[in-house]
């Protein structure tokens, strides 16, 4: 039915997808747990991040350009996320309807950024040149070295984020704000700035994911919506009880996607994932891994 080679290849591409999804979904989950808001602009953060890096690689070629592009993209997107908090979420942080209002404003922001990209870079598909070429052999299956690098760096980035949140004063303050806003205010923490930093961090991880995706797929102004949907699925599936919950779920989704594409075809794979998501929401709305609590 399926050869070992093919199986390994499908599995490997699933794991790669999982790494990318983990990067995006963690960004989404961090914002959700901290602000209690789902950021529907997360997808266009991915796209914008990719375009910024692409622009840099146009003028600086080679792996230097790639590194420079990735770094610039991450830093710029942190700034974009930071600023957007003050525009999209802060104006009604005291409103009881915050969840709905934030969905609406982030959707609108997504539309603005998406069309902005269209105006600046046009509708033509683009691709970021992979920094390294060649393949790596894994038990007989040939896997692209770029993919392995992406997976490693993605996991490393997540590790750095986790250490930042657990070990540094700033990270702990961000977690404190996420868990009890009032008590954090009473400790003199600047809640708005910490919120803004959270969205900034999330945008930065999205940008990194965008750079990676841009080097394995084509980028277009609308290409953020697919990663957004996938990260939604991942966050729902895994829940946000722990920092690792969305990461584990990301690998499950990535592998499931890659196998259903192989067996069921390109059109049915998303349907399978959405069906999975609805099923999880029905049976265990808090996600596969965890209890009913939100944390980082």
């Amino acid at each position: 039915m399926i050869s070992v080679d093919t199986f390994l290849f499908v599995l490997a591409s699933g794991v790669l997808l999982g790494g990318l999804y983990a990067l995006m979904a963690t960004g989404l989950a961090v914002v959700w747990t901290t602000l209690g808001v789902f950021n529907f602009a997360h997808g266009v953060f991915v796209a914008l991040g990719a375009y910024i890096a692409w622009q840099v690689t146009q003028s600086v070629t080679g792996s230097v350009g790639y590194l420079l592009g990735a770094a610039l993209s991450v830093v710029l997107m942190f700034g974009v996320g930071f600023v957007l908090h003050y525009v999209l979420v802060k104006p009604f942080e005291r409103n009881a309807n915050l969840v709905l209002l934030a969905v609406i404003t982030t959707l609108a922001a997504a539309s603005i950024i998406e069309n902005g990209i269209l105006l600046v870079w046009g509708a033509r598909d683009k691709q970021i040149a992979p920094p390294i070429s060649g393949t790596v052999g894994l038990m007989g299956a040939e896997i692209s070295a770029n993919d392995v690098m992406i997976l490693m760096v993605a996991l490393l980035a997540l590790l750095v984020l986790a250490i930042f949140l657990r070990r540094t004063a700033m990270g702990r303050a961000m977690r404190a704000v996420a868990q009890n806003r009032e008590a954090a205010e009473l400790m003199g923490l600047n809640v708005s700035r910490l919120y803004a930093m959270t969205i900034g961090l999330s945008a930065a991880t999205a940008a990194l994911a965008g750079v990676f995706i841009g080097s394995v797929r084509f980028i277009s102004p609308t290409f953020g919506s697919d990663p957004l949907m996938k990260s939604l699925i991942v966050v729902i599936l895994g829940g946000v009880a722990r920092f690792t919950s969305p990461i584990l779920a990301a690998f499950i989704v990535g592998i499931a996607e890659s196998f259903s594409v192989y067996f069921l075809g390109l059109y049915w794979a998303p349907a399978v994932l959405f069906a999975m998501m609805i099923a999880v929401l029905l049976i265990k709305p808090e996600g596969l891994f965890g209890h009913r609590s939100k944390t980082l």
Partner: protein, 620 residues
């Protein structure tokens, strides 16, 4: 009891009628196809947005699969009409059924979910549907969609002929039906249950509302007309493409709903014109169009979340405040002689801590009586008492702020029972009334009680048409009989019909009423009604009850047995420390305003009470 007058008796009737007639006549002047096409799109978007309001605004279910209802209507028209070859009219009628069926299906997963989870499931459901549509390209045309759908004809007359006049009227008819349906739904018991579930879920459930069933009904109701509109859209454009699942379509509809304002039917209808025409005008600018629309959404949500309809209402409110104040100042000068003829004395403005108040003083004597009128009334209702008691008392009455010929006042500071009692205190002091006997009618009764409870100078208190309240709000339904009047009493905007009703009922008439009272209702600042009622909850009711129970101030209650509002049994058994006659007294055959309806009997009784307060018998 919920007050729900028929539509033709409300303030909305006239504008809606005018708008409908205008829309029906417009195509006679507007003959270009493009203009009519834009209006047809307006109608379709209006149907979509206003029906979305059933789930989003009325029901509080954040259903992001709303446009999937439309898409289902569209595709089922395409499949029935083109693939299966059914008569297009029947296909059109079938499309809403499928949309409702999908809504019922969608209701199952979100029966017990909350907040963000509902958003996520509905988004996932819409995406799932999109994936299915795209994957079944044999039937749906896949990503490129279906073309050349059947067109609608009536006896061989193509609706698209004569510059699409047929489609125009069909769309207008759909919008009219949809709006009628929404209006009826909102006022039905189902609509009220949906709203109750949104506002106070656990209370509603405890009162026997089934959450799951109601969510099902809410979603199904919101799917009906969008499904039909989807079918219509397919027949009109003759194309069904998966674009309708896209973000652009969603954003436009959502912006219409938000710009119009949630929980209103009319808001999204108005906003549909603004946004759709804006979108058409900006049509040539491609990406800029989406950016501008998104900016509009953010601006509205961030700055003015109430939306257009709220703006219209605020404008209407400002106009009303201006109108009532202008009317008061005009009548202050013009009607002075007429009022003098009625009251026996000219009124004048007295400065109080809550602004200028029109006061009328007459008669002479050692003792003073202060009369306080009720909600949406005026001091002239006490004219018979002025004539009778003016002989041997100083009689004083004043117009509450926002009432009669007193000017309008600050809604936050000056329209409450507490503020009214402070005004009474200031008047007593300015006019040197000493320790007056205070008589209050209806809302004025509470003012009189508050006045006495605060220890302001008084020698006796009498009230009429008022149920004392110990605990708020528990005692309100006990002390009053639920009638539409209660709703009107705290309502800001009255339609002409409601004003006439209100004026008649307060003085015990079936209809008509007397011009003075009727004019007073027209003049009253709507905010005075609304604020005084909403601030009932901040009043210190226990203090009033303590005052009534400890009986240091002689007290009388003179009601009409036919008073349709107060619960006489409740008033009788409330428990008073020192009440004249041992219990509330009745003026036979009178209603809510005995001092006006049967003034001779009333005056006799009030005089008896005054004698009693001076006599030795008062100690019992």
């Amino acid at each position: 009891m919920k007050y729900a007058p028929p539509f033709q008796c409300t303030n909305g009737f006239l504008p809606v009628l005018v708008a409908f007639i205008a829309l029906a006549l417009i195509p006679l002047f507007l003959t270009e196809t493009y203009a009519r096409h834009t209006l047809i799109l307006v109608f379709v978007y209006a149907i979509l947005a206003s029906n979305w309001d059933i789930s989003l605004g009325l029901g509080g279910i954040v259903n992001f699969a709303h446009l999937a209802f439309f898409a289902i209507g569209l595709y089922s028209f395409g499949i029935f009409g083109k693939v299966l070859g059914i008569d297009p009219w029947i296909a059109l009628l079938l499309s809403p059924l499928l949309a409702v069926a999908f809504a019922a299906l969608l209701a199952i997963p979100i029966l017990r979910l909350e907040g963000i989870y509902v958003i996520l499931v509905t988004i996932a459901a819409a995406q799932l549907l999109l994936q299915i549509v795209v994957s079944q390209s044999d039937y749906t045309g896949g990503t490129s969609g279906m073309v050349l759908l059947p067109r609608l004809e009536i006896f061989g007359y193509k609706l698209s002929k004569d510059n699409r006049i047929g489609y125009y009227y069909l769309a207008l008819a759909l919008l009219t039906f949809s709006t009628f349906f929404l209006y009826k739904l909102q006022r039905s018991s189902l609509g009220r249950a949906i709203k109750a579930l949104r506002d106070n879920k656990y209370y509603a459930i405890a009162r026997g509302v089934s959450e799951g069933r109601l969510r099902l009904y809410t979603l199904c109701a919101s799917a009906l007309f969008p499904g039909l509109a989807g079918g219509f859209y397919g027949a009109y454009l003759r194309v069904a493409s998966p674009d309708v699942f896209g973000l652009g379509f969603l954003t436009i509809t959502l912006s219409i709903l938000l710009l119009g304002g949630l929980s209103t039917i009319w808001g999204s209808l108005i906003a549909a014109f603004v946004i759709t025409i804006l979108a058409q005008v900006l049509g040539d600018y491609g990406a800029w169009r989406s950016i501008i629309i998104a900016l509009v959404i953010i601006a509205v949500v961030v700055v003015y979340p109430g939306g257009l309809f709220a703006a219209v209402q605020e404008g209407w409110g400002a106009f009303n405040r201006f109108r009532t104040d202008a009317r008061a100042s005009w009548r202050r000068s013009r009607g002075a002689d007429m009022r003098k003829a009625v009251m026996g004395a000219r009124d004048r403005l007295v400065e109080t801590r809550h602004g200028k108040i029109s006061v009328c003083e007459s008669g002479q004597g050692d003792e003073a009586i202060l009369f306080i009128h009720g909600n949406s009334s005026c001091k002239e209702v006490f004219r018979h008492q002025f004539a009778e008691f003016g002989k041997d008392h100083r009689v004083v009455a004043f117009d509450l702020p926002g009432h009669g010929v007193s000017p309008n006042a600050d809604p936050e500071e000056d329209y409450s029972i507490e503020a009214y009692s402070e005004i009474a205190c200031d008047i007593v002091e300015k006019l040197g009334l000493g320790k007056p006997i205070v008589f209050g009618w209806s809302l004025g009764g509470y003012v009189a009680l508050e006045y006495a409870a605060r220890g302001y100078p008084s020698s006796a208190v009498a009230i009429c048409g008022t149920s004392p309240v110990g605990k708020f709000p528990e005692d309100m339904p006990r002390g009053y009989i639920a009638t539409p009047h209660m709703e009107l009493a705290g309502k800001r905007f009255h339609s002409p019909h409601e004003k006439a009703n209100y004026a008649a009922h307060t003085i015990g008439m079936e209809k008509g009423g007397e011009p003075l009272v009727w004019q007073a209702v027209w003049r009253t600042d709507g905010l005075a009604r609304e604020q005084a009622f909403s601030k009932l909850k901040t009043c210190n009711w226990p203090r009033q009850v303590r005052m009534l129970k400890d009986g240091k101030i002689p007290f009388a209650m003179i009601n009409g047995p036919k008073d349709p509002f107060i619960n006489h049994e409740y008033c009788r058994t409330f428990g008073y420390g020192n009440i004249w006659g041992g219990e509330p007294q009745n003026v036979a055959e009178a209603g809510h305003a005995p001092f006006l309806e049967d003034h001779e009997t009333f005056n006799r009784m009030l005089r008896d009470f005054l004698t009693w307060t001076k006599g030795p018998a008062r100690a019992d």
